[in-house]
């Protein structure tokens, strides 16, 4: 039995792996680890089938067919590692000479621990700003993560399953298969439902979570913001179910806003003012002695008319009457009213609970959102609208409410006091996250780069983590205008299948990937991406054959920790068996490359910086590793761990125990009550940040780069382009969801999961409403085409169900493979992304995230 962290999804459950005669024969959850509670999922259990898949890459392979493209046979030729390394080194050297920024790095969302060392640190050492995670602009979090960061200092939120009594889900599965910390959440959610927590799910599809919920609210895709804003409107304007105490102390609700939409600030300190009710005058928000301040009303400061931002929100919300929202989202106004009232009443505003001797606000309601509700044109404001209910009733990071995921506060490992970090306020009193996976904090907004340096122009904005700009038709023109002196040169891709995960594959390939001189991909299979675009494919180890630093700890980039009270855990990944054939852990290649390229010191420095930022602490790797010493990942890990946990807890200790755990503290889990930080119910700073970005765009002659009018302070619902589709032929809204059986596109090649999926009516099908099917003459099991107005099509087998809106059609998972290197996955399921358009019109103007709404027409295969 060897303990390690599962790597079939980013849940990273601790598992015990059984080895017999040098072969992995079984995997079980580790019952003592808080990371999974001993449970495991179908994907984790199927890992041996991935480990021993005869289609796995075993040798470096070079492309012999110079032609690149979808469906093209790359003509792989086996080469030696030596040749491969020489080839790669020379390409990278050329790139350095031309401009190191021409290197584009792409890393997997599934392996954040590996990604940090393989990609992020190497990128830093190499000196390129260009990077994205797996899905690029289509990944999970341009909107969702950033809003999570602004409101919860965390990249997502989850209900406090232990105490929550009513959770409202908007397009997320938390605890029902996919989502974060999948197994942990599954158990917590099951416990909560057994205890009596009610779940209301807004989803166009009767998803797993919707089918096990108290109530399924079939909402139209991309309209969540309208529904949520109408509910907030009711809470604020009709029912008066607001937590005024919270709004006054924990939000910028009382901050006075002037005619220009910006805060009215104290002349001397520059701090935002509030209206102090006691002495009936303005006062800097943080001044001592403010017993009570105004949330509503009209005031005058220095002759300027102003009002508390809450007043502005209140006024703004009035247009979101339930009737108006109902017309948009297709949910009856009476339902919106009822749910808003239930939410507000169930919040038990004013009540408290004592945990561990500490009296805390008790707000047993949570409004939770994720991938589904954020995949739209308006995603930044969608997410803001969905998080808002929590902050109106004060249900944020308090018992029963919406909790930050992988909590943002950790007061230190008891043995050493290391790994210490917390949230803090900025000068305006607003919440600043202190361990954030992305290159820039969600707040305060970074200054825009002038001119931008990145090919996706991300660095001239303030919300986006990645954009799809590098794949727009207009990319060359934009790079030209923004005076970006370099072009795509070399790409290093780690564990991603960009052809299937980043929007429309043809657009990405033709507009972007084909521009690279050289693409190297580290993968375990030759997928559609390698076949279409890669010049060199290097056989990585799978998670059972390699080390990874800290797979769970909430600072490595993904926070896949249990939420709520319990235990912290730092777990590692370690090789259970020697890598088979010529597979090599990517990190070894990266260390080797760093040395070959003379970037050794830069790499170690980047690691130091990363480790310090991510794990909190300081460690001088350059000193600890002698200049002549060959770089070894094990040594680096050993140093890091000893630094965090003490001399006796080095890599050897972790190899034996697999993980280290220690109890969570109330102050860490329910940190909001203990930290003087506020969140913006009025995003004043977006006005300022938006102006700055706009100024850059205008300066370089691209004034309409995005719709700047969306860079406002108050949330709104904005329609997706599909909502305006006039042609009645395109009568179905298509969307996708994640099957619990699969992780993105990478698990369809697993024959156990594949066989189970074939036997599940949803995973590999197009789900169509029974009546719609009847109307269109489509029967169960028929093959149909879905076609978007631009003629892009996807084909699949229909499953008729009553569990979907009649005007919608759903596709599960990221299936429909065609790659030669994936014989099991090939031809199974439906490929959704073919239907997506990657362009300005389908990018959120604030977060630049990809809109995945698609209007389609449906017709039987064979007929038109």
């Amino acid at each position: 039995m060897v303990k390690t962290s599962c790597g079939m999804c980013y849940g990273t459950c601790t598992v015990d792996v059984r080895v017999k005669d040098g072969i992995i024969v079984g995997i079980e959850g580790d019952p003592d680890s808080p990371q999974g509670y001993g449970n495991i999922c179908a994907k984790g259990l199927s890992a041996p089938m991935m480990m021993y898949d005869p289609s796995r890459l075993n040798y470096p392979m070079a492309r012999t067919n110079p032609k690149k493209g979808i469906g093209v046979d790359p003509g792989w030729k086996r080469i030696s590692w030596d040749e491969a390394m020489k080839l790669l080194t020379s390409k990278l050297k050329e790139c350095i000479e031309r401009d190191p920024r021409g290197l584009y790095t792409v890393g997997s969302p599934t392996f954040p621990a590996e990604r940090a060392f393989n990609i992020l640190c190497f990128r830093k050492a190499f000196g390129t700003p260009n990077y994205y995670t797996g899905g690029g602009g289509l990944h999970c979090g341009n909107g969702a993560h950033m809003i999570g960061g602004i409101y919860h200092a965390s990249w997502s939120i989850i209900p406090d399953f232990k105490y929550c009594n009513l959770a409202v889900y908007w397009g997320c599965s938390k605890g029902h298969g996919a989502g974060h910390a999948a197994n942990v959440a599954a158990k917590q959610a099951a416990d909560a439902k057994a205890r009596g927590m009610r779940l209301i799910v807004f989803d166009p599809f009767l998803s797993t979570q919707a089918s096990s919920a108290e109530e399924w609210v079939p909402i139209k895709a991309g309209t969540d913001a309208a529904a949520a804003l109408s509910m907030v409107n009711l809470l604020v304007n009709d029912y008066n179910l607001c937590d005024e105490e919270y709004l006054k102390r924990k939000t910028n609700g009382p901050y006075l806003v002037g005619q220009d939409g910006l805060y009215v600030r104290d002349k001397t300190s520059g701090l935002p003012l509030v209206w102090n009710i006691v002495d009936n005058g303005p006062k800097a928000f943080s001044s001592a002695g403010i017993e009570d301040c105004a949330l509503t009303g009209d005031f005058e400061v220095d002759g300027e008319r102003c009002a508390p931002s809450f007043q502005l929100l209140k006024e703004h919300l009035k247009k979101y009457s339930p009737e108006y929202a109902s017309g948009i989202c297709g949910v009856p106004a009476s339902t919106l009213r009822r749910i808003a009232r239930e939410f507000g009443e169930e919040a038990m505003i004013g009540s408290t609970i004592t945990i561990d001797g500490k009296v805390l606000p008790y707000r047993p309601v949570a409004s939770i959102y994720f991938r589904g509700s954020q995949g739209h044109y308006n995603q930044a404001w969608d997410c803001m609208s969905l998080v808002l209910p929590n902050h109106i009733v004060g249900a944020a990071d308090v018992p029963g409410g919406a909790l930050a995921f992988g909590p943002p506060v950790h007061l230190g490992y008891p043995g050493t006091g290391r790994l210490k970090y917390s949230v803090e306020p900025d000068k305006d009193g607003l919440l600043v996250a202190r361990n954030w996976p992305y290159s820039h904090l969600p707040y305060p907004p970074p200054e825009p780069r002038d001119p931008p340096q990145r090919l996706d122009l991300q660095d001239m904005f303030y919300i986006p983590t990645y954009t799809t700009i590098m794949a727009w038709d207009s990319n060359e023109e934009l790079w030209e205008k923004f005076k970006i002196p370099y072009r795509p040169d070399v790409m290093i891709s780690f564990a991603t299948n960009q052809i299937m995960s980043v929007g429309n594959p043809r657009t990405l390939l033709n507009n972007f990937l084909k521009k690279f001189r050289f693409i190297v991909s580290f993968n375990i299979y030759s997928t559609e991406f390698e076949e279409a675009a890669a010049d060199l494919v290097l056989p990585d180890t799978c998670f059972l054959e390699r080390y990874a630093s800290a797979t769970t700890f909430p600072t490595v980039g993904v926070s896949c920790h249990a939420t709520g009270l319990g235990e912290w855990v730092w777990a590692i990944r370690q090789p259970i068996v020697e890598p088979m054939a010529e597979r090599r852990p990517m990190i070894d290649v990266i260390l080797d490359l760093s040395e070959r390229l003379g970037l050794r010191d830069e790499y170690l420095e980047a690691v130091r910086e990363w480790v310090d930022r991510a794990y909190g602490g300081d460690i001088d790797l350059k000193k600890a590793i002698g200049p002549e010493e060959k770089l070894s990942f094990e040594k680096i890990l050993d140093l890091v761990m000893k630094d965090r946990f003490g001399e006796e807890k080095g890599l050897d200790w972790f190899k034996e125990h697999g993980y280290l755990k220690w109890p969570k503290r109330v102050e860490e889990v329910y940190w909001r009550a203990f930290n003087d930080v506020r969140v913006p119910i009025y995003l004043e700073w977006i006005i300022r940040a938006g102006r700055k970005s706009r100024a850059v765009a205008e300066k370089y002659g691209v004034p309409d780069l995005v719709d700047w009018s969306a860079h406002t302070a108050l949330p709104d619902w904005r329609p997706c382009p599909t909502h305006a589709e006039k042609n009645p032929e395109y009568d179905l809204e298509a969307f996708y969801w994640r099957s619990a059986l699969h992780t993105y596109s990478m698990t369809m090649q697993n024959p156990w999961l594949n066989e189970i999926s074939q036997n599940d009516p949803y995973t590999y099908t197009i789900q169509l409403n029974t009546d719609t099917g009847r109307r269109k003459g489509v029967k169960e099991g028929d093959f149909v085409w879905l076609e978007n107005p631009k003629g892009s099509k996807a084909r699949g087998r229909v499953h008729l169900t009553d569990g979907i809106r009649p005007d919608h059609v759903a596709i599960a998972a990221n299936a429909g493979h065609w790659g030669r290197g994936l014989p099991i996955a090939k031809g199974k399921g439906v490929f959704f992304n073919e239907l997506i358009e990657v362009d300005r019109e389908h990018s959120c103007p604030v977060s630049l995230g990809q809109d995945i709404c698609v209007k389609v027409k449906l017709y039987k295969d064979g007929g038109a």
Binding site: K20, D21, G22, I23, I24, V25, G26, E28, G29, P31, Y37, G38, N39, I40, C41, A42, L45, S46, P48, M49, M51, Y52, D53, P54, S55, G177, A182, N183, A186, K187, A189, A190, D191, K193, A194, L206, T208, S211, S212, W216, P218, A740, P751, W752, L753, E755, I756, N759, D760, P761, Y762, N769, T770, D771, T801, D802, G803, I804, P823, I824
Partner: protein
């Protein structure tokens, strides 16, 4: 007397198929053989529609139809309630399969490799799987869930029970009124599937709603 049984809480179950995979991983069942599975049942008309995942396995019935019809004596009921198939006695007539009301029985002509469909294993793991399977069962016979008899003998829970992420499955002694299974059945109105067939199934389901 002990009577082993299982309780599946449909309120907790998230239809995730972990049990399906856990059983496969534990017993190395070949393609097409599912001792555990989850079926998806839907009823009602949009928008008042409900869907339920229903995890199935051998009910290890107290009055097993399969045992009654088995002409060879390969299927037997143990004193602890587990219904077993002695694969060295089974002839593969599959009378039990048609007689079992729960679709619990699986026929496999031969071990086959999951990747190639061949009788030859494609990897060391596949060779191990093949060995494990042929130890557990034979070619051309019928097999089924045996409540993980080997694990139970070692004091462990069945594999599907241990794996279930939602902890929806509980295993124990139905005869002992104090056991968790008995208590759950009593408190949560646990019910058997198809009681009308008088199989007296040893798997009980707790209602989702």
């Amino acid at each position: 007397m002990v009577r082993l049984g299982m309780v599946i809480d449909l309120k907790r179950c998230a239809s995730c198929h972990t049990c399906t995979a856990a059983c496969k991983a534990e017993h190395h069942t070949p393609p097409g053989v599912f001792w555990a599975k989850v079926i998806r049942v839907e009823s009602g008309k949009y928008p008042t529609v409900i869907r339920q995942g229903l995890p199935l396995l051998c009910m290890n019935c107290a009055e097993p139809e399969c045992e009654k019809v088995c002409p060879t004596g390969a299927t037997e009921k143990r004193p602890d309630g587990i219904v077993t198939v002695d694969s060295s006695k089974c002839v593969g007539c599959r009378y039990c399969s048609v007689a079992c009301p729960y679709g619990a029985r699986c026929f496999a002509e031969d071990w086959k490799d999951y990747f190639t469909g061949d009788r030859r294993p494609s990897s060391a793991f596949a060779a191990h799987s093949r060995k494990m399977w042929l130890e557990e069962s034979d070619r051309g016979v019928v097999s089924k869930c045996n409540f993980c008899a080997d694990r139970i003998a070692e004091g462990q829970n069945p594999a599907c029970v241990d794996a279930c992420p939602c902890e929806a499955r509980v295993f124990g002694d139905l005869e002992d009124p104090e056991s968790e299974v008995s208590q759950l059945i009593k408190k949560r109105r646990g019910r058997q599937l198809h009681p009308e067939y008088d199989t007296d199934a040893s798997v009980y389901y707790l209602p989702a709603r």
